[in-house]
């Protein structure tokens, strides 16, 4: 392994995610937590420049995020992939229809790296559903630094005026 890869492997990727959101001027995060997201949300809650809104349901979270962005606040959604599966109507009828640029940081549960029996059914359909509802997305490359990948996703959302989901693995987001 060369020195660059060694450095990347040692980096604390959730810290890089948080620092990238701060650097890009994100003023709010709306979330429904899961096991991987819980601790980073506590960190976000203690930031002076970001407001954390804890929603009861992911489709509700999506609408809150649209309202924040409508009001001029750059906003990220932090949810589990199951949550995106349950926000389909709001995604197409609100976020996409009104062209709200939203960064969605999505914990990707039920993959071969996360073979929990009750997550697997969600992992299996996540990307096909995303494609089906026309949600732009990318999977994080674990061999590259996470910060630039978050920035690229955020930039795509703004440049294309649409939600963009970045699918994250455990080491990317679990503090």
């Amino acid at each position: 392994m060369n020195s660059v890869l060694a450095t990347q492997a040692d980096a604390h990727r959730p810290s890089d995610v948080l620092n990238t959101l701060k650097r890009l001027g994100f003023g709010a995060v709306v979330s429904v937590p899961d096991g991987w997201l819980g601790k980073i949300l506590v960190r976000i809650e203690h930031q002076h420049t970001m407001r954390l809104v804890r929603a009861t349901h992911e489709e509700e979270a999506l609408a809150i995020a649209c309202g924040l962005r409508l009001g001029g606040v750059r906003t990220a959604l932090l949810v589990q992939n199951a949550g995106v599966l349950s926000m389909g109507a709001g995604m197409v009828s609100l976020a996409q229809r009104y062209q709200f640029p939203l960064l969605m940081l999505v914990s990707y549960r039920g993959t071969p790296d996360d073979p929990v029996f009750y997550h697997v059914p969600k992992g299996r359909v996540t990307e096909p559903v995303f494609r089906g509802i026309g949600l732009s997305y990318a999977c994080v490359d674990r061999h590259r630094p996470i910060g630039p990948q978050v920035e690229h996703a955020a930039t795509f959302a703004e440049e294309a005026s649409c939600p963009f989901a970045l699918l994250l693995s455990r080491e990317d987001i679990q503090w």
Binding site: L24, G25, A28, V30, R51, V53, R54, A55, T56, H57, E59, E60, A61, L62, A63, I64, A65, C66, G67, L68, R69, L70, G71, G72, V73, R74, T75, A89, G90, S93, L94, R97, Y98, Q99, F100, P101, T155, E158, E159
Partner: protein, 209 residues
């Protein structure tokens, strides 16, 4: 002609239009909630829902957080509210004093033809209070709404007014095309919201003009 015992949506909307606070932003739910408001008070400060039933309240909550110095008024239906009842809890938890929630309680899904609700007789004001919105009240008459709107007393949190309303099933024709993207952009322009500057122009962030 059958006499109705409850006021119409238009009765309440006239009161709202006549007593709208300065700089208010108004978010309206789908169907006649938006169409009739557009007919009575079309303005760039309005955000009309085309569909997305049940999401007007949480969107208005986000808008109220983003624009704390402006009053934000949301008109949601009782059926739409029941669809995302959790949003009431989130509003109660955050409790922004600049948010006024008006719930049209007509007991039916008016926008889809008047189908009965799962429970048309719920005490929604009590439900809102239990959700953390202490300033919640059932309203029976437009005059009572007018009194509330004219009350200039500073509030310590969000207010939820449940308006007993006769169902309106005939679709109102709005005076303008309610193009979703245009509606979004003109509201953002009206409030001077920061705009994203494209990366090719050296931007990549939201910037105030």
């Amino acid at each position: 002609m059958v006499a109705t015992t409850r006021p119409t949506r238009a009765d309440y909307y006239r009161v709202l239009a006549d007593n709208l606070p300065p700089q208010a932003l108004v978010v309206t739910s789908l169907g006649n909630a938006s169409y009739l408001w557009a007919k009575l008070h079309e303005a760039p400060e309005n955000f009309y829902f085309e569909d997305a039933m049940g999401l007007a309240l949480p969107l208005a909550l986000g808008l109220a957080i983003a624009q704390p110095s402006r009053p934000v008024i949301v008109v949601e239906g009782d059926g739409a509210l029941l669809m995302h009842l959790g949003a009431l809890v989130t509003v109660g938890a955050i409790n922004p004093a600049n948010l006024t929630v008006l719930i049209i309680q007509n007991g039916v899904h008016a926008a889809s033809g008047g189908q009965a609700l799962t429970n048309a007789g719920l005490d929604l004001a009590q439900l809102a209070r239990a959700s953390g919105i202490a300033l919640s009240e059932n309203i029976e008459k437009p005059e009572a709404l007018a009194a509330k709107m004219r009350d200039g007393t500073a509030r310590g949190g969000a207010e939820c007014l449940v308006l007993a309303t006769e169902p309106d099933l005939d679709v109102v024709r709005p005076p303008v095309a309610l193009d979703p993207v245009v509606i979004k952009h003109r509201l953002q322009a009206a409030i001077g919201a920061p705009r994203y500057v494209h990366a090719v122009f050296g931007g990549g962030k939201l910037e105030s003009s």
